[in-house]
Amino acid sequence: MTDTQSQDLRVRDKQEVAGPAEQTTPGLVFTPAVDIFETEMAITLLADMPGVKADDLTIDLRDNTLTLSADTEPADDSSEEGILLEYETGRYYRQFTLSEIINQEKIDAKLESGVLRLTLPKVEKATPRKIAINTG
């Protein structure tokens, strides 16, 4: 897809979400933009989470529900005064239901310059197998 790379980027507002339960601490919660693609062996998820450090990120997979949540620290110093504020920062939260069976032991997560790359390998059984049809 070379043509998508030559396009000009358009502004997208950060999507604010309400979590599943009410927050006990104040603050905004955003839903990260994700790409999810599937190959024969694995499902890969890429999520844009600017401002998140590896320690602040929690990835949880149970009962086919994948939960991503992350805290961010305010980037600015308290001594700074805002002049023009176009975006807000806060936590990230997003949940997915996975239809495939995932090999939990081989999950691999990498966080690099604000982008999470999560590889969820499928369990052997779930990888497609060509079924030969016998003609009688």
Partner: protein
């Protein structure tokens, strides 16, 4: 209404027939402003969105640029303008892969912004960490606030 005023009363503000239109336009602007939800941020509509803050000595420009590498960014300063441009690339996936979701964008961007005061173009530092770009720009000596002591 304008028609009647202009032609029914030939002397009625004949000097500026657009005044009425101008007044209406202002009213419309106010209506739009009121209708907008207070929480909604106003932005310039140019990628990337930025936050500009200041302290006594510096301006700080921050932008969220996840996945960008330092060498993919081009930052320039002039007298009191800052320009940020670059290209965000998203690596191609294997042809056999099937997308479930595709929300992340790739593309070029370029933004110029005016800074509210004079700066020292020699003292500009840019940092890219965890996908957040921070440009710290020193204010020109002349633009820094100076403490004045009141003598009695």
């Amino acid at each position: 209404m304008i028609y009647r005023r202009l032609f029914g009363y030939p002397n009625y503000r004949i000097r500026s027939p657009f005044e009425e239109l101008e007044r209406m336009r202002r009213q419309m602007d106010r209506m739009y402003d009121d209708a907008r939800a207070p929480s909604q941020q106003v932005h310039a509509g140019v990628f990337p969105m930025i936050n500009l803050t200041e302290d006594v000595n510096k301006y700080f420009v921050r932008a969220e640029l996840p996945g960008l590498k330092a060498d993919e960014l081009d930052i320039q300063v002039t007298a009191n303008n800052l320009s940020i441009s670059g290209e965000r690339k998203i690596e191609a996936v294997d042809k056999s892969a099937r997308y479930h979701r595709r929300e992340r964008d790739a593309g070029r961007f370029s933004r110029v912004m005016g800074l509210p005061g004079d700066i020292d173009p020699e003292k500009v530092e840019a940092k890219l960490k965890n996908g957040i770009l921070t440009v710290a720009i020193s204010k020109a000596t002349i633009a820094k606030p100076k403490q004045i002591t009141v003598s009695s």
